[in-house]
């Protein structure tokens, strides 16, 4: 019985990501367009909302090109492992007080740990293309992702310290509105580090379209490329959901089903900010990116932990 439930939740998670990716791409194209002082897709469907329904079959019908010198099994199956862990990590997000698909005792750590499988899959898929630029892009992407895991985890640690538990629903129950100003630095660090984890926004030099010709997924076409994109959008959705759940109090003024709606509204707001940041800021150079992580974000996260630790006895 529980196996069936787990399977259904898995299907639900995949559907959420697929639908989220479709809606997310549409929303991103509209937001990007407005920032660039033009309209986005407007022909197909009201406000261009059915544009993705036109794009997805195009992707599916593209010719499946596999380079001759590529490592074929890894080339074919590594993109699956890029996208899979994101879907799996969504299952521990607490949607509202009392609503969490999988309420394990180490849920928060589970959410942080599972995307690290994605890192090795990206590295392997960059290797499998067997050309120098892809490998270079893959190494840069991997170095960036494993570096930004550190401030991200430290920022979430601040909330865990206040809540006293790694269980997602415990964190939601213990959340108070004045945690937000107290852990605002942690929220900012989590937000920036999540954008960097997904190779998005100003941190997207590994996939830099103008410099490395789409970097580590240059040789992937059609649905394979789409799985990298779905991983990016799925990562954005899950990071925003988790950030809203932990730092903004999942569905805070409300509980139950209305709380889930409140959480989704907060998530859409966070996602819009992510897209806004991407289309406004110029790309960071690789060494600036790394020094920003280690010399700015990590010490700030430690400072935040000290602040929380000092305040804790009075709570």
């Amino acid at each position: 019985m529980t196996l069936l439930w787990g399977f259904l939740w898995g299907v639900a998670g995949m559907t959420v990501i697929a639908v989220g990716a479709i809606l997310g791409v549409w929303w991103e194209r509209k937001v990007a367009a407005r920032i660039q002082m033009r309209y986005g897709p407007q022909q197909i469907g009201p406000f261009g909302s059915l544009q993705m329904i036109a794009d997805v079959p195009k992707l599916l019908f593209k010719e499946d090109i596999i380079p001759d010198s590529a490592d074929k099994p890894i080339f074919k199956y590594a993109p699956l492992f890029v996208f899979g862990p994101i879907a799996v990590s969504m299952v521990v997000i607490p949607f509202s007080a009392g609503w969490a698909p999988l309420n394990t005792s180490v849920g928060v750590l589970f959410f942080l740990a599972v995307p690290s499988i994605e890192v090795i899959a990206i590295l392997l898929s960059a290797w499998a293309s067997h050309n120098t630029l892809s490998t270079l892009g893959g190494i840069r992407a991997t170095a960036q992702m494993i570096s930004y895991e550190v401030p991200r985890s430290l920022a979430v640690l601040a909330i865990v310290l206040l809540a006293g538990s790694l269980r997602p629903l415990d964190v939601v129950d213990a959340w108070r509105w004045w945690w937000l100003p107290l852990t605002f630095i942690a929220f900012l660090i989590y937000f920036i580090a999540s954008i960097a984890e997904m190779n998005r926004g100003p941190f997207d030099i590994p996939e830099a379209e103008s410099e490395l010709v789409a970097g580590y997924f240059a040789d992937y076409s059609g649905m394979r490329w789409a799985s990298f994109m779905m991983a990016e959008y799925g990562g954005m959705i899950s990071a925003s959901l988790f950030g809203a759940a932990l730092f903004l109090g999942a569905g805070w003024p409300f509980t139950g089903a209305l709380g889930v709606v409140a959480l989704i509204v907060k998530t859409i707001a966070l996602m819009t900010i992510v897209m806004w940041v991407k289309w406004t800021l110029p790309r960071l150079r690789q060494d600036h990116l790394m020094s920003f992580c280690w010399k700015v974000l990590t010490p700030l996260a430690l400072v935040q932990l000290v602040i929380v630790g000092v305040v804790l006895p009075w709570l």
């Binding site: 394990t104 740990a113 690290s116 890192v119 392997l124």
Partner: protein, 164 residues
């Protein structure tokens, strides 16, 4: 009940399969993938024995960290080889006998300490934290010092970039 047996079987299969790939394959990247499979199997086994925190830590540290290091090392060491790096071995009946002998010794000496199926205890992170930050605080501090020493050692050994 069957779910736990399934979990045990799956984790055991991943461990054994990963180990077999590491021992027998002729391609370096396949070997690294085999190691990754083994590490995921170990994480599953930790979960089977009720150590949820340890399973998550295993995935975080090993699959997300040490395995990435392995791939980086392969990429750096075999950069000039161009094609796919080939892994050779000196398959040897003597080595197999020694390995089997050691396994047998371990099994024979420990076979009285194990009972039936097991385990009921499930512990999250809280119990481990109470132990590490309570009675065994010195161990915790020493582990931190060890990690710091390893970090500094790696930086010193690898140095600041290549000498051309």
């Amino acid at each position: 009940m069957t779910l736990t047996i399934l979990a045990f079987a799956l984790s055991g299969l991943l461990m054994a399969g990963g180990a077999a790939v590491v021992a027998l394959t002729r391609d370096l990247m396949r070997m690294v993938i085999g190691l990754g499979t083994f590490l995921l199997g170990v994480a599953g086994m930790f979960l089977f024995y009720g150590q949820a925190f340890l399973a998550t830590a295993q995935v975080f540290v090993y699959v997300g960290g040490v395995l990435v290091l392995f791939v980086f090392a392969v990429m750096v060491v075999h950069r000039s080889s161009g094609g796919r790096p080939v892994l050779e071995s000196r398959h040897d009946i003597g080595a197999a006998v020694i390995a089997l002998g050691v396994s047998g010794m371990v099994i024979l000496s420990l076979q009285d300490s194990v009972g039936g199926w097991l385990p009921a205890s499930a512990s999250g992170g809280a119990a481990i934290a109470t132990e590490l930050l309570g009675g065994h605080l010195v161990v915790f501090e020493l582990l931190g010092a060890l990690l710091l020493a390893a970090l500094v050692a790696v930086l010193v050994i690898v140095g600041a970039g290549e000498r051309r």
